[in-house]
Amino acid sequence: MSWPPRPSALGCSSFQLQSDQGPCLDCYRTGQPVNVPDLRHQMERWPMFVPAALEQGYTAVHAVPLRLRGEVLGALNLFSTRTGALSPSSLSLARALADGASIAILYDQAAQRRDLVIEQLEGALTSRVVIEQAKGMLAATGDLSMDVAFARLRGYARRNQAHLTAVARDLAEGTIDPQSVLEVPGKPHDSAG
C-alpha cells in the first residue's frame, strides 16, 4: 500500500493488511486522510497495529488517500519516529506524492490491460489455426467433410467436457489419436454435433 522507505515500514504496512486494521486501511476505506500524531494514544483503536508499529520504533503515522476523482485507489503511509502532526508543507508534499503515485498506478493498470489484450489476440489467432488444423486431421482420418469433422471435434469436446481448443491442440500436437475423436459411443454413424 505504500512505497517502503525502510524495510520496517514495509513490515508495518503489510502488518496492517494481515491484521486487517491500521490507519492505512481506515484511510483507504473512508477516502479521508488519517493523521495519528501519537500512536501511543490509539492502542484501543488498533490494538494489533499499534504495538507492532511501536516495536519498529514508529510513534506517528499519517495516511493520505491515493485517489482518482471519486475513486480511492489506495493509501500512502508516512511513518515517523517522532511524535507530532505533519507540518502544512509536509502535508502538501505528501498529497503531491500521493497524486504522483496514483498516476503511476493507473498507467501500470492500463499497461497490464494492454498486455492482456495482446495475449488474447495471440491466443485467438493461434486457437483458430489449431482448430482448422484439427479439422483437417479428422477429415483426412475419417474421409469427412470439414463441417462434419468440426461437428465430431465439438461432439468429442462436449462428451469429455473439454475445451474445443484444448482438444484441437492435443490433436495437432499428436497427444490424442484422431481415430479416438471420431469414435462416437453408441452411434457409430452419427455425424451431427
Binding site: A111, R114, D115, V117, I118, Q120, L121, E122, A124, L125, T126, R128, V129, V130, E132, Q133, A134, K135, G136, M137, L138, A139, A140, T141, M146, L171, A172, E173, G174, P178
Partner: protein, 217 residues
C-alpha cells in the same frame, strides 16, 4: 472478407500516407497470421506471397522488430535477402517496398506492408507521417480486437482467411504421418515447387483430396 470498419481504417491511413498501396496483417507468428485488410490486389499479393514463402520484408520486419525499407526493388543488392520473394513479385507493378511492424510497447501485434509504384526512399516527413499513422492503426486494431475477442471474431473478417491452409496442413499431417510443423513446411515447399500460392494448393488438397508424395521431391 474484410469488414467495413477495418477497410475504413485502412483507407484513412492510406489517404494520409505517401504510398501506392498497403496491407495490414495481424499476428506475429510464422503460421498464425491473418491479412485483415489490403488496399488493392497488388498489396494483397505482397502479403500473400510472403505468407506462402515464409520470407520477405514483412517477415524480416517482424523478426527484427524494426521497419524494413526497400527503396528500389530492381536494385540487385536490396532484395538479396529474399531471393524467392524477389522473383515472385517481379511481375507486380511495385518499385519500392516498406514493411513496418505494428508495435505496442515491446510486443509486435502484426505488420503493415506498403508499396510504391515509383522507386525512392521515403522522405523524413513521409516516414514521420507513416509511423504516426501506423501508431493510430495499431491502437485502433488492438482496441477493436479487445472488443471482438469477446465475440470470437477478429477485426478484418468473420472467418479465418487462411482456414483452408490450416485444414490442408492437418490433412497432410495425417496422410504423410508427420507433425503439423513438418506438414506446413511440406505444403509450402509443394506450393513453391509448383509456382502456386499456398491457398490455391491448399484448396486443391482439401476439395480434391489431392495427396502429396510421402517423400519430398
Amino acid at each position: 472478407m474484410v469488414d467495413a470498419a477495418t477497410a475504413a481504417l485502412g483507407e484513412a491511413f492510406l489517404a494520409q500516407a505517401p504510398l501506392t498501396g498497403a496491407a495490414f496483417t495481424m499476428g506475429a507468428s510464422d503460421v498464425a497470421r491473418e491479412t485483415v485488410w489490403a488496399s488493392d490486389p497488388v498489396a494483397r499479393a505482397i502479403a500473400e506471397v510472403q505468407y506462402s514463402l515464409g520470407e520477405g520484408p514483412a517477415t524480416t520486419a517482424v523478426a527484427a522488430h524494426r521497419p524494413v525499407l526497400v527503396n528500389d526493388v530492381s536494385a540487385p543488392d536490396q532484395m538479396q535477402r529474399w531471393p524467392i520473394f524477389a522473383q515472385q513479385i517481379s511481375e507486380l507493378p511495385v518499385r519500392a517496398l516498406f514493411a513496418f511492424p505494428l508495435h505496442v510497447g515491446a510486443a509486435t501485434i502484426g505488420v503493415c506492408d506498403c508499396y510504391r509504384s515509383q522507386p525512392g526512399p521515403p522522405s523524413r516527413s513521409d516516414l514521420r507521417m507513416l509511423l504516426l499513422g501506423l501508431d493510430r492503426v495499431t491502437v485502433t486494431l488492438l482496441t477493436r480486437t479487445a472488443d471482438a475477442i469477446r465475440g470470437d471474431a477478429l477485426p478484418g473478417d468473420t472467418h479465418l482467411n487462411r482456414a483452408v491452409v490450416h485444414q490442408a496442413t492437418g490433412m497432410l499431417a495425417v496422410q504423410l504421418q508427420v507433425s503439423i510443423p513438418v506438414a506446413f513446411a511440406r505444403l509450402r515447399a509443394h506450393a513453391y515447387s509448383r509456382g502456386e500460392d499456398l491457398e490455391r494448393v491448399s484448396r486443391g488438397i482439401v476439395s480434391n483430396r489431392q495427396v502429396l508424395d510421402p517423400e519430398p521431391p
